[in-house]
Symmetry: C2
Subunit: 350 residues, 2 copies
């Protein structure tokens, strides 16, 4: 099953909802999940309070829906089945309060499946990643048993219809193609086997990285990555896709830059990463865990670099496709160029 | 002004609230802010809906209160002034629905001032920090103009009454004493001068760090720090304290391990850090920004190491004091020791 988060303009302002891409992928119509489930309950069951139950089982936000686990999943399946059936005879079906239940694609704006997760961690588990770079990232013995990751910025996650800013403080912007694991269920100190049950699904995760400024950031990437993390176009539930075999492609203005597969040599499966994060920590519904660049799917390895004005298309078979425009970033302040501080550099590192 | 977040047991279960330490510091009574403001409005003004206004101006969560900015601050001052006056004659005053307004210290549990911030960033701006370590952290020319930081785990923040786990995967646990800056107002691309107005206040921030396992984590600290970040005991508003001159002390089981001051040589003031974070990012109410260890205030520099069973007391003049017990961490899983992965280490780093 696929789900999307989307924004819709109404007479009462913008609203954020979750929905089902009813024509099979993100290019088709979007059915409003909360409305459809309420309408299904009202017309097909003896439920006395359909709107209230729909608000609990299929709330209009993805994290709320994920919290409902198997119950919310079953409700979503019922709602999706019901509206598909309905669409055979009704062109523009409405819900129990007259609300529209299905939106043409061009009337909605798709958001990241989880627009604002509680945590974003991004690993590096593919063996060939950075192997073709000018300065390769060499995999140590630690890399094979304890997967390295950084923590990202949850407040700059963007959706498939937002541009990617090219920050003033980089000359080399690299959009890494990754698989995003979406946590479904809260868990602490999980075994690898237990962790499987805590994965709700997958999405495309793009990790825009500045390939300079490393010396500025000795404690992990900050300004190099935190300005933007696109995700989308949908969440594909883990039972609907094999994360070990997803064909991937990067195209720039129509030209193919790279093709690969999530089955390329990697140190761990998704459940290892979830289990590892949960060790002495807790994973929560909606938390995002990236795999790191799949194979050679980034500029460091393919030696082609995106520029302002270009459009990059990222495709993963079974998930969908996103085309992201590269635009000039904001320069109102330029602190990353260096701020005038309180101490003078003494001329040598001490 | 000082504010705290606290938990109280009621006949309807635990509730989280914010309050004012009405006797001046965290050792005395705590006045419930929402209840006091509603009672003040009902008894001293012509407000027709005191509970509703109190829920907006002084909601029971710190981030909600911070969002109200100067309006919520004025309301809190009125509530605190009113209850102080009231306590001269009433021993256990009650609110408009019979709720208790003031709690003896031992009836509440203090939480981190912001129990679950949206973001946690921790800098390293003090010049002598790690200068006395076995392997010093040398400050480069970049350090003087672009302050380095790491991003922490917002889901393992603990309060002044919670123990600190000693993880199974470290032999050297170091509790770094830091000043925590609490963001008050949303802002993007702020100048350094503008950033001043985005600081709501300060708290004590303890950064428990494992001083081993560095090679496991090449992209910044994860398991080394993410298991716990204590904060407290209160938020002191920025107009009530001079962050450039706060006396600090670390004691362990009654013995003083270190004394220092936030005025020790540092690269930047608080507003620089807020402005820097906001460059191509957004800061939000409740976001936490740590200064990094103040002076030599950590085990790496003083060469004394906390052990399970010890109690560490951290004091900052004008903020308060927290005593944290060191306890054995959880060992249900031991993934950080190394997981059996999908690839074999080929015997050399490639």
């Amino acid at each position: 099953m696929k789900l999307v988060s989307f924004e819709i303009n109404t007479a009462l302002g913008q609203a954020r909802r979750i929905g089902v891409p009813i024509d099979g992928d993100e290019t088709g119509r979007i059915a409003d999940l909360t409305g459809c489930y309420a309408a299904y309950l009202a017309s097909e069951t003896d439920e006395p309070t359909p709107r209230q139950i729909a608000a609990v089982r299929c709330p209009p936000d993805m994290i709320g829906w994920l919290k409902g686990a198997h119950k919310s999943r079953a409700a979503a399946e019922e709602a999706a089945g019901w509206i598909s059936e309905k669409l055979i005879t009704a062109k523009d079906p409405t819900g129990i309060r007259g609300e529209r239940l299905v939106f043409p694609r061009d009337e909605v704006k798709l958001l990241a499946p989880v627009p604002r997760p509680g945590a974003l961690r991004d690993f590096s588990i593919f063996q060939t990643h950075m192997s073709n770079a000018d300065v390769p990232f060499k995999k140590t013995k630690h890399w094979y048993v304890t997967p390295p990751y950084y923590k990202g910025n949850c407040d700059t996650i963007t959706g498939p219809e937002e541009p990617v800013p090219f920050p003033y403080y980089t000359e080399r912007l690299d959009l890494e193609l990754e698989l995003g694991i979406i946590v479904g269920k809260k868990g602490t100190n999980l075994t690898i086997d237990e962790a499987k049950d805590h994965i709700a699904g997958y999405t495309i995760l793009i990790d825009p990285s500045c390939r300079d400024g490393y010396k500025r950031e000795p404690f992990g990437p900050n300004k190099r990555k935190d300005f933007c993390t696109p995700m989308g176009p949908c969440l594909v539930t883990s039972d609907s896709i094999d994360e070990r075999n997803i064909a991937c492609r990067i195209e720039v203005d129509g030209e193919t830059w790279w093709e690969g597969n999530t089955g390329e040599p990697r140190s761990f499966w998704a459940e290892h990463l979830v289990a590892y994060v949960s060790d002495n920590e807790t994973v929560f519904p909606g938390d995002i865990i990236g795999t790191g660049t799949i194979g050679l799917g980034c500029s460091m390895d393919i030696h082609k670099w995106p520029q302002v004005g270009q459009n990059m298309t990222f495709t993963m078979q079974g998930i969908g496709s996103m085309t992201l425009a590269i635009v000039k970033g904001d320069e109102r302040v330029r602190h990353v160029d260096g701020m005038s501080g309180l101490l003078e550099y003494p001329g040598e590192d001490i």
